[in-house]
């Protein structure tokens, strides 16, 4: 079973497309971890709920773009509420209690969605029809567009962090929470804001990704596992590293599914994770050990 050049190119494209979406999901996760040391188990569920908000908005307005914006907005607020009620009281305690709490939130949200929307997957139509011919395939334009959109959102985040006042607040708080307070930065609001932004990014990726797969209550679970791998391999709290790691892992995934079945290809990512933890625990793509 030879692998032709055509196969390889197509898988590269596929890898980059999922890599960009994974990068979007992982950026939110790593941003949150970097600033408040919280591993948000429920991140995948924000993705899932974002996708559902997208489904509902699309059905009501017919506009994919409105769906994207509504999902990000609604889940940003929802994320902030979740943070304020359940995570803020836990800050400063044993970090493992936040893992437990977010795991609990994840369970509740998944089952709530199952009850509210039922087990049948929903569909979001691709906003752009049309394909181009790549070798023997008709490759849909839409896939490249979502990769671009995900990249644009990440780019916007990067610019925001680099130049805006709030970006400086976030970076300062991530580096030294105490001194940020001493400089008059309203740290409690910054933390809430970052959690909201991270959640919104997850929600956006849910809507972007939805046309590729169905929207159902369990769609977050796969993403959260991959996102964890990416965040660890990329270096906890390292935004650039997460993006590089996301593309790396997705490409590995895509290439290995040339040889094994897709559900098994995730083992390759697992192995990479384990090797990273053993030999370079600060992250393969992290510049300096923290």
């Amino acid at each position: 079973m030879g692998v032709s050049f055509a196969h390889f190119v197509i898988q590269t494209l596929n890898g980059i497309v999922s890599g960009m979406i994974l990068a979007l999901v992982a950026s939110g996760l790593t941003l949150i971890f970097g600033i408040m040391d919280v591993v948000n188990f429920a991140h995948g569920e924000f993705l899932m709920l974002g996708a559902y908000v997208g489904v509902i908005t699309l059905a009501a307005t017919g506009s994919f773009w409105l769906a994207l914006i509504a999902a990000a907005g609604v889940i940003a607020v929802f994320g902030a509420l979740v943070y304020l009620t359940t995570l803020r009281p836990l800050l400063g305690r044993d970090p493992l209690t936040t893992i437990l709490a977010t795991f609990g939130i994840s369970l509740v949200l998944q089952n709530y969605a199952l009850w509210q929307f039922g087990p049948v997957a929903r569909k979001i139509e691709e906003p752009f029809a049309g394909q181009f011919t790549l070798f023997y395939l008709d490759y849909p334009w839409y896939r490249l567009i979502i990769a671009g959109l995900a990249g644009a959102i990440i780019g916007a985040l990067w610019l925001f962090l680099k130049f805006g006042t709030y970006g400086i607040w976030i970076r300062a708080t991530t580096q030294d929470r105490v001194m940020a307070q001493a400089m008059g930065i309203p740290v409690p609001w910054v933390l809430t804001g970052v959690f909201a932004i991270g959640s919104a990014m997850a929600a956006a990726s849910g809507v972007l990704f939805a046309p590729l797969v169905g929207v159902d209550h369990a769609m977050g679970v796969d993403w959260i596992l991959r996102a964890f791998i990416v965040v660890v391999v990329g270096g906890m709290g390292n935004l650039g590293g997460s993006i590089a790691a996301a593309i790396f892992i997705s490409l590995l995934d895509a290439y290995s599914s040339l040889w094994v079945s897709p559900s098994q290809s995730i083992i390759v990512s697992f192995v990479v994770l384990i090797l990273t933890l053993l030999f370079r625990p600060t992250g393969l793509f992290a510049p300096t050990p923290k």
Partner: protein, 331 residues
């Protein structure tokens, strides 16, 4: 000179065991099975408590130990003819031990969050392997097999009835509890607890923390695997669902709800959780809810309210239901 456990404890213990032994004789079939299940999940939760409650290492890997115990037993029961109980136990324990050895290695290299995530990934690796290696494991559908008789080769052989199986499970679980209790109260157990309190200080005082962690993981894995074997015996069925990390998560929930670091707490937590599950699935139906005007809630999974209770407990009552009695239970 440690004060001896009050007589009260042993009387209570004896009473509870007696009640559990008598139960299958008076309960209807469904509740009898549920009780046996509670015991099995309770054993799994106790094994997890050793890691979380006593050594302070949160692990999501128990579904891997449990699942491998289950599949190991299944393999033994399918390959031996007539199916041999002791072979199943041995195979299950060995399989769980192998996985535990892996995890134990990582426990010494990684701390806290990284360890928790790695154990989670481990469970998923096994899930994927079992799910996709259909020829060996039966894949998604799992495998079924016959229950072996309670037999000592050459002496006697008696097939299990529901009641005698319950007693067997009760004996194994009670025995495990007593062993685990002995372990946690021994000097070894004291070192584990000091690792949980302050690992750096424990190391500074001169203890080989790594070795203690390894033994703790191995023990925890063995008892979890044992629970898996019991489950296989009870249900005559092994499926990949039990290896999915959510099972580990639920186990951790039993621990937290029941009270970490108490051993019986997690068992009580398992009971609480499973009874709630039954209660909810019975009561959250249109029949009961509509008259109260809450018909819209019908069909909601028990996990939603239970999950909310769990989150509330993590925030407000982190020591769990029996946590207040932790000192007393550990004397």
């Amino acid at each position: 000179m440690r004060p001896r456990q009050p007589v009260v404890f042993w009387i209570g213990f004896g009473l509870i065991v007696a009640l559990l032994a008598v139960a299958p004789l008076v309960l209807p079939v469904f509740w009898r099975r549920l009780l046996t299940e509670i015991l099995i999940w309770g054993l799994l939760a106790m094994s997890s408590d050793l890691l979380i409650g006593y050594t302070g290492m949160v692990s999501f890997g128990h579904s891997a130990f449990f699942g491998l115990g289950m599949y190991g037993a299944a393999a033994a029961l399918l390959s031996s003819n007539p199916p041999n109980l002791w072979l199943a136990l041995a195979a299950g324990l060995i399989a769980a031990a192998v996985v535990a050895a892996f995890v134990a290695y990582f426990s010494t290299r990684l701390r806290d969050i990284y360890f928790a995530i790695t154990t989670l990934i481990f469970s998923q690796i096994f899930y994927v392997i079992i799910f996709t290696w259909t020829s060996v494991t039966g894949g998604e559908n799992g495998i079924t097999f016959d229950r072996p008789p309670l037999a000592i080769p050459g002496l006697f052989s008696q097939p299990f009835t529901a009641t005698t199986l319950h007693w067997f499970v009760l004996a194994v679980v009670t025995g495990s509890y007593l062993i685990l209790r002995r372990i946690t109260q021994s000097p070894f157990g004291m070192v584990l607890q000091s690792i949980r309190e302050n690992e750096r200080r424990t190391r500074a005082v001169g203890y080989a923390v790594e070795r203690y962690k390894i033994v703790s993981v191995m023990l925890s894995g063995l008892f979890a695997g044992l629970a898996g074997v019991l489950y296989a015996l009870q249900n005559q069925f092994a499926a990949p669902d039990f290896v999915f990390f959510v099972v580990s998560g639920e186990t951790v929930i039993y621990n937290v709800i029941g009270g970490i670091g108490t051993l019986v707490g997690p068992l009580a937590g398992a009971g609480f959780f499973l009874l709630l599950r039954e209660g909810f699935s019975r009561l959250f139906t249109v029949k009961y809810l509509a008259p109260v005007g809450l018909g819209g809630l019908a069909g909601m999974s028990y996990l939603v309210p239970v999950g909310l209770i769990f989150i509330a407990m993590v925030i407000f009552l982190p020591q769990g239901l029996l946590g207040f009695a932790r000192r007393w239970l550990n004397r």
